[in-house]
């Protein structure tokens, strides 16, 4: 047997196995949930002593932030969970931070954290919310949107691509190989090949999403998914006794036609249906209608810093007038 295995083969094997061991031992944190594409329960939440760090990991591109695992006594801790809209153009420009500053200006000892990740639909928001509840928030603001269900489905399939112990998946059980495969796909395949080449015989991903978004049945299905996952989120927050404030997204479909009303895409009705003790609803449409709302949007969905400021002001007002802040003190 000794002669059958050459030194070159053994060294190659050693290098490959060694790389795998190094990755699994020394890069465990970076790799945790790496291939779950946002469906890992803990990815992005890193505990370090009595600190909690929000990091970019496991398909969660959180703004890097740090907090104590438990809020200091008397501190009103707010988590904003959502997608690219509440995430904002920058940590300090997003409504989470602006809300924190406004509450502080009112003498309220508050801290707000931005737990929003671009492209997250209702299901992945629910996973983030479940984990966030472990860190004793006084309030969770859940930003509802129905435009990311396509991504949720796609990333779910992507995460499951090499699941199971079918022989065709064996090599992808290696973190090194999977990571290199992912890197090649994302860095070389996506960057060097034009869309027309990548999508030969298959619909362009962006086109497929647009086409799906224009289909009424698909939109209804997505809204129903949002409703179901939001129901789960409400139930989860209730079980922990944490108040939940649902912010329903409004889109400005035609930025040039300022007479056209904002569209909440049925999300306000969904949010209203959950209103009960400890579950609140703030409609972006109600907040922004009346003013020059088109000027607050950078595109049909995303807001400029002024838009975030308008939402933060509305939230601060809503929280104090509805006793959300007071009720916790």
């Amino acid at each position: 047997m000794k002669r059958k295995l050459t030194a070159a083969f053994l060294l190659a094997l050693f290098l490959l196995v060694g790389a795998e061991v190094v990755v699994r031992v020394f890069f465990a944190r970076n790799m945790a949930g790496r291939f779950d594409y946002g469906y890992h329960p803990d990815a992005g939440f890193v505990e370090d002593g009595d600190k909690l760090k929000l990091v970019r990991a496991g398909g969660r591109r959180f703004f890097p932030q740090e907090m104590s695992k438990q809020p200091a006594a008397g501190t009103f801790r707010i988590f904003v969970v959502g997608d690219s809209v509440p995430r904002g153009p920058g940590l300090e420009k997003a409504y989470a931070f602006q809300l924190q500053e406004m509450l502080k200006a009112q003498g309220i000892k508050a801290e707000a954290f931005n737990l929003c990740v671009p492209g997250y639909g209702a299901q992945r928001k629910q996973i983030v919310l479940t984990k966030a509840l472990e860190y004793q928030p006084s309030l969770v603001i859940l930003h509802l949107n129905a435009s990311n269900e396509y991504e949720d489905e796609r990333e779910f399939k992507r995460g499951k691509e090499f699941d199971g112990w079918h022989p065709k998946n064996w090599l992808m059980k290696s973190l090194v190989i999977r990571r290199l495969h992912e890197a090649k796909t994302e860095k070389a395949f996506w960057h060097l090949l034009p869309t027309e080449v990548r999508q030969q015989g298959a619909p362009n991903d962006a086109d497929a999403e647009i086409a799906a978004g224009k289909n009424d049945d698909t939109r209804k299905r997505w809204l129903e998914q949002v409703r179901q996952w939001t129901a789960t989120s409400v139930q989860t927050a209730n079980s922990k006794g944490v108040p939940l404030l649902l912010v329903s997204q409004a889109v400005c479909e035609n930025m040039k036609d300022r007479t056209k009303p904002l569209d909440d895409q049925g999300l306000a009705a969904v949010a209203e249906s959950f209103k009960t003790e400890g579950v609140y609803h703030l409609s972006m449409k109600d907040v922004l209608t009346g003013g020059d709302y088109a000027a607050l949007y950078s595109d049909g969905s995303h807001m400029r810093p002024d838009g975030h400021k308008a939402v933060a002001e509305a939230l601060a007002r809503f929280m104090t007038t509805n006793g959300v802040v007071k009720s916790r003190h």
Binding site: L16, K184, Q200
Partner: protein, 524 residues
């Protein structure tokens, strides 16, 4: 069963494990059963065709050498295809439909074969060997012509008649091309002719012969082996050697690297460049031709390496099929480096019988053009393949006729050699455009696109990066093994270097982001 599938990996491991644990006859039986299983995975019905070729050549091979098989045995063997199709029809194996016409054809075989076999034995002894050789060639080519070329010729004839104002309204048949038929048919013909020429002796043991003709590593896409090389290895027990084991694994690794990493990834570019609705610009025209050159080389040479490696694991050596073909200095050199076993086949069984180069320039030119046109047609039933063959025939003629080119091809070193390689590379690329195009109209569009450097169209600069990413490692590997003329000779490198190359190759294969592509030569 594709060589790059996990099923093949398990299949090969299982065959390997059993093979070395059983005696010689057991190994032959194992090879026969596993080869038929391997082939049957594509379409069980076509095992009847393989069996037909086997029976015909087994009987004809012996008859050419003057060995007569009893009528009972002839009948029993000739009934094998019918029996197999009958089993498929009754059991509905694999959900494939066995049409009545298939059963009728298989049913005719025993009758025809018995009649011809008996009839030819009644010929004078001196005429008998040639008659049996022609019978073998005729029946094998008949199968090939029907399954591969019937519709092509019928369609071409219809077009020709239409140009004369006639309107033939015959309908084309729905014929499925059996995988690898061109390869095993040519191997069968070579067997019969070699016995006739006394370059091989006929095999009297049916098991040995059937195992030889259906040997799974080279059954569907070659190398096209001769009896003196391959059959002789089946006649004696294979002996285990560590060297074979190591070389086998190394060949499989190199083959997978060429196919999965180089070929399949370059295929993404080539497929786009040669798609019907692609708006070609000059960049994409050049990129498409280059990408296809690396795709077809990676694909076919990779297949061959896996075939050679698989056979080596079983203690059997297959012939080389490629010797760094893109380093050829001229067309003659190219055909001694590209698909060598096919080139040698056409040289030995077509070009030389036509007279080769011994009857003056005019006849030599005719022989070259005819041989290369047939070689082109062998690749597929389309005029683009014939024109590709003629194009290479013309290159051979031009290089023979123009002394500076003839001298350039013979350049061994220095700038002249580099110039020769570059010139031949350009000719090869143009050839690949003809080969890959779906019509001559598309070839024309490709040439027209070469002038559109400033036109619109999809960006081609970044995709060149993709091509370089996948082609340069192969070029480096070839360059490093240039002297040895075979990549597997990297076994001579220092072992730490080899270890790193193995590791990198393995990772390149495992992380390839192109989807699995069918082997190009399976369709031939």
């Amino acid at each position: 069963m594709s060589f790059i599938s996990w099923q093949y990996a398990l299949f090969l491991m299982a065959v390997f494990a059993v093979y070395w644990g059983v005696p010689h006859r057991g190994r032959l039986l194992l090879l026969l059963v596993s080869s038929y299983f391997f082939y049957g995975v594509w379409d069980v019905r076509f095992l009847a065709l393989l069996a037909t070729s086997t029976v015909i050549d087994y009987l004809c091979g012996q008859a050419i050498a003057g060995i007569r098989v009893s009528t009972g045995k002839v009948l029993a063997l000739a009934c094998t295809p019918l029996a197999w199709l009958g089993i498929c029809a009754v059991t509905g194996v694999d959900g494939k439909i066995v049409k009545p016409s298939m059963l009728i054809m298989a049913g005719c075989l025993p009758v025809i074969l018995l009649a011809l076999y008996g009839g030819l034995w009644s010929l004078p002894e001196a005429r008998r060997p040639k008659a049996f050789m022609l019978l073998s060639i005729g029946l094998n080519l008949g199968q090939l012509m029907f399954f591969k070329y019937f519709n092509f010729f019928a369609d071409s004839a219809a077009h020709l008649l239409q140009t004369f104002g006639m309107n033939p309204n015959w309908t084309l048949l729905s014929i499925i091309l059996p995988v690898g038929i061109s390869f095993y048919t040519f191997q069968s013909i070579a067997y019969a002719v070699d016995i006739y020429r006394k370059k091989a002796t006929p095999e009297t043991d049916f098991l040995t012969f059937a195992a030889f003709l259906s040997f799974f590593p080279q059954l569907v896409a070659g190398p096209i082996e001769r009896a003196k090389d391959l059959l002789t290895q089946f006649q004696k027990p294979a002996v285990w050697s560590d060297e074979n084991f190591h070389r086998g694994l190394r060949l499989i690794l190199i083959g997978l690297f060429k196919k999965v990493f180089v070929g399949d990834n370059c295929a993404l570019l080539a497929t786009y460049a040669f798609a019907k609705d692609t708006q070609l610009n000059a960049g994409w025209a050049v990129l498409g031709a280059l990408a296809f050159a690396f795709q077809i080389y990676g694909d076919f040479s990779g297949y061959t390496d896996i075939a050679r490696g698989s056979a080596r694991l079983l203690g059997i050596q297959l012939n080389h099929n490629f010797h760094h073909p893109y380093f050829a200095t001229g067309p003659s050199d190219f055909w001694q480096r590209w698909h060598i076993t096919l080139s040698a086949w056409f040289r030995d069984y077509v070009y030389i019988p036509l007279g080769g180069n011994r009857q003056g320039n005019l006849i030599t030119t005719r022989n070259l053009l005819l041989t290369m046109a047939l070689a082109g047609l062998w690749h597929g039933a389309a005029w683009t393949f014939v024109i590709w063959g003629l194009y290479h025939g013309l290159l051979l003629v031009i290089y023979r006729s123009v002394p500076p080119l003839e001298k350039l091809e013979l350049a061994q070193t220095g700038a002249r050699k580099v110039l020769a390689i570059l010139l031949m590379s350009v000719f090869t690329l143009i050839g690949w455009v003809i080969f890959r195009a779906s019509s001559m109209e598309q070839v024309g569009q490709w040439f027209a696109a070469l002038t559109m450097w400033h036109g619109t169209g999809v960006d081609w600069v970044k995709p060149f990066g993709w091509l370089a990413l996948h082609a340069i490692p192969l070029i480096l590997l070839q360059w490093a093994t240039m002297k040895a003329r075979d990549e597997v000779e990297m076994g001579l490198w220092p072992w730490p270097v080899r270890a790193i190359v193995y590791g990198v190759m393995f990772l390149a294969i495992a992380t390839s982001s192109a989807g699995e592509q069918e082997f190009i030569y399976f369709q031939f």
